[in-house]
Amino acid sequence: MTTVTSIDHKGKKIEFFPENEAEQDIPDDELHEHLARPSTERTRRLKARCRWKHASAGEFVEKGVSAGIERMRLITEAHKANDGKPEVIRRALGLKHILDNMTLVIQEDEFIVGYHAEDPNKFPLYPELSYMAVQDYLISDYAPQPVKEASEINDYWKPHSLQSKCQEYFDPVDLTRMYQVSTMEGPSFASGYNSLIPPYETVLEDGLLTRIKLAEENVSNAYKQMEKLPWDGTTGLEWLDKIDNWKAMIITCKAVISWARRYSRLCHIVAEHYETDLKRREELMEIADICYRVPAEPCRGLKDAFQAKWFTFLVCHAIDRYASGFAQLEDRLLWPYYHKSVVEKSFQPMEFEEVVELVEMERLKISEHGAGKSRAYREIFPGSNDLFILTLGGTNGDGSDACTDMTDAILEAARNIRTTEPSIVFRYSSVNRNKTLRLVFECIRDGLGYPSIKHDERGVKQMLDYGKFSLNGNGATQEEAHSWANVLCMSPGLTGRRKSQKTRSEGGGALFPAKLLEIALNNGYDWSYSDMQLGPETGDPRNFDKFEDLWEAFRKQYAYAISLCIRCKDVSRHMEGKFLQQPFVSAIDDGCMELGVDAVVLSEQPNGWHNPITSIVAANSLVALKKLVFEEKKYTMDQVCGALRANWEGYEEMRMDFKNAPKWGNDDDYADTLIKDFYEDILGGEMVKIRNYSGGPVLPVGQAVGLYMEVGTRTGPTPDGRFGGEVADDGGISPYMGTDKKGPTAVLKSVAKVQDNQKANLLNQRLSVSMIRSGYGFDIWKSYMQTWHDLNIDHVQFNVVSTDEMKAAQKEPEKHQDLIVRVSGYSARFVDIPTYGQNTIIARNEQEFSSEDLDFLNVEL
């Protein structure tokens, strides 16, 4: 590193030399190409041949990636063959038919085996979810082959699809507004997008044979209850659905065991007949043994646990139904098996280094995993695969530190192997041990963009608060509340044997305040993108006499949008309960097993949320309008409307006034007071009035993913001085890029002001590379984190990457394949992001810590 920063602090000059002296000889613009260090030759080879599936602007970046036809063919055969059977049984037989007949894939060097399509360059499609999403694939370069057959399959499913079943309950105009994703994200029934947290714990602890036995006992008991004398039809008929659900659970568990054992047989066959390398032959026999035992039986060691978890992931997230995410509290989930294998060495004995290798291999499996997601979701995580995110750290039920050596192995592997997925969330608490915090820091320092940090205590309290609304009075206990993990990039949800989120209709989806403000300034009409009425008529803004008129017009647009979004989710969930049951997920959830209720139907722990994205563009715009129009009266609303319609052309002086108005993130009370109200009174206040399917309130999760780019391009000019088509703000509560000019602690002070009616808010920060990579880096970061924690801020994540390196990568992308950046809620390979998006990362202020900042953080250097 040739650049060395220095500051004067407490009367002395502090120079920030790299902690690792060897870095002094590495040019700034290629640093990240020198940081990968796969822990073994095997993981080095696996990374080199990894079939990445990054998407950008709706396209797959890597050549040769396409949709497979196998799953859609098999699910269709089963659906036709089982017409007339109870729907949940039909769903179970659909999964069984796929698992019984799908191609098995084992690749060289793999230790964790299993894939969800007929070829590792392919991914499955789900015509039973959204016919539009499949139609889009059919006309793309990634169409399943033969296209004619795929098209016929999609035609068959059109009337049966979740999309068709839900659409008829909505005004077509409302649907048109949602499908274009400018004021609202499209409903999940039109995209097929989903997310859940599988209860991995029951699979690892019990094994599926035990789950089958439980379901069989429940069926047997149900028949006995029905046969009791005298018959009571008011309660006796309830057993019918339960019996079907338990029978469906049994079918799916048996099918999953059979599928895993097919892998076992295949490993045997390859080992005995084809493999010439003796060591690999032995390893294949070991894999065969593991796949025979798990997930049928309880896991006995760490290798068992990784394999059983992977099979469960594939079924829940990719084979039965598509669901984004890799949600789990991974260190806690694996710790008992780590203990058996590494500490006790009682089964599958190994050393810490071997655990690191296993984690690296799991990360590469996820990197290779293909998601058959709709175009909307191929657009909004540019430079990455899908939202694969796991959680670590935090506290146990008694408040003690939950970090273990398993936590450290996961972090060390992530730092070593350098992949964009899976991203990691770290639950930060004051009691977390220093050794683990150092590894968290090293991942961040090396530019991975993760772990993103969440406030542990806030998450625990949130789980307890939501639990109070449980419809069956069985919400999170104190112990369970400590077992939360992020469902996707930002929102906590319970993990464990029951009560986890099973469908995205509980939480997820977005709406866009920047665009909602734009239409509020046009009486609900969208002149800049769709040329149609996008919301209710809320008045001609030229007639707004006072700021409150504008404020209330925005509120009405927002209230309309959020109610429509949640209505879509609840209708979707209702239909999922009738036609898209998830009997395997039900089988591994203790609540579903006990009650005989399907996983998408049962709700024990409410966890409703929706994501306002682009909030700061709207908020900064409101601040500027209040100041310049309604208080100083320098401009009229008529002039503002005219300037915006002209995209500020001919109004440059006026635009600069609006651009220079107070902005969020500078600890400026004028801006912050209004923006606090905007978040708490409107964004949260209107959302919290809603009750969703689960009976709980819906709360805002301010984040952004790549939607801040997409929505920016669909939003005309705004009164914060932004031109039409320019990007929106990159995080839920992050300052607009380049407008946080008072340093990193001023940002924290602003963000800390927003507290009420929020579930989560994403804070993106870009920190000085030379400071963070210096010998002082860890101390500064640790003090920053403690201050962030004490200010009761929900979240923060970091980019530690230089502008020089990003610009060099724009010029020669092939030389910068290991350059990873944090976009928003996920990390991406920089060179796989469109130029438009790359420029938004470069435009973020690289925050340096001044002497005043260091004083505020109370750090000694």
């Binding site: 950008s56 602007a57 709706g58 396209e59 970046v61 539009m132 139609q135 889009d136 006309i139 793309s140 949602m178 499908y179 274009q180 994703v181 400018s182 499209g186 039109a190 995209s191 709709s374 175009r375 909307a376 657009e379 540019p382 800049s528 993108y529 769709s530 040329d531 780019m709 997409e710 920016g712 391009t713 669909r714 005309g716 031109f723 039409g724 088509g725 320019e726 990007v727 469109p834 130029t835 438009y836 998006g837 420029n839």
Partner: protein
């Protein structure tokens, strides 16, 4: 209302539909609709327009082809 040829307009069964234009990318949800990305500023912003019907709309900027993902958003 007269049609301004340089602007996106309806033209049933046009031989230059937006679907085949390099500036168009499909709508995020409905493949019968699309997004026009021809409107680009010098600063690099892409200001999109929604295309209601990609088979029956066109404009004079129509160019056959496909842009790299790097040039889209």
């Amino acid at each position: 209302m007269s049609v301004v040829a340089s602007q996106l307009h309806r033209e049933d069964s046009t031989c230059k539909p937006c679907r085949s234009c390099k500036w168009q990318i499909p709508d995020p949800t409905d493949p019968n609709s699309g997004q026009c990305t021809a409107n680009r500023t010098e600063a690099g912003a892409v200001w999109k327009r929604w295309i209601r019907d990609v088979m029956n709309m066109t404009c004079t900027r129509h160019e056959e082809g496909k842009l790299s993902f790097r040039e889209h958003v």
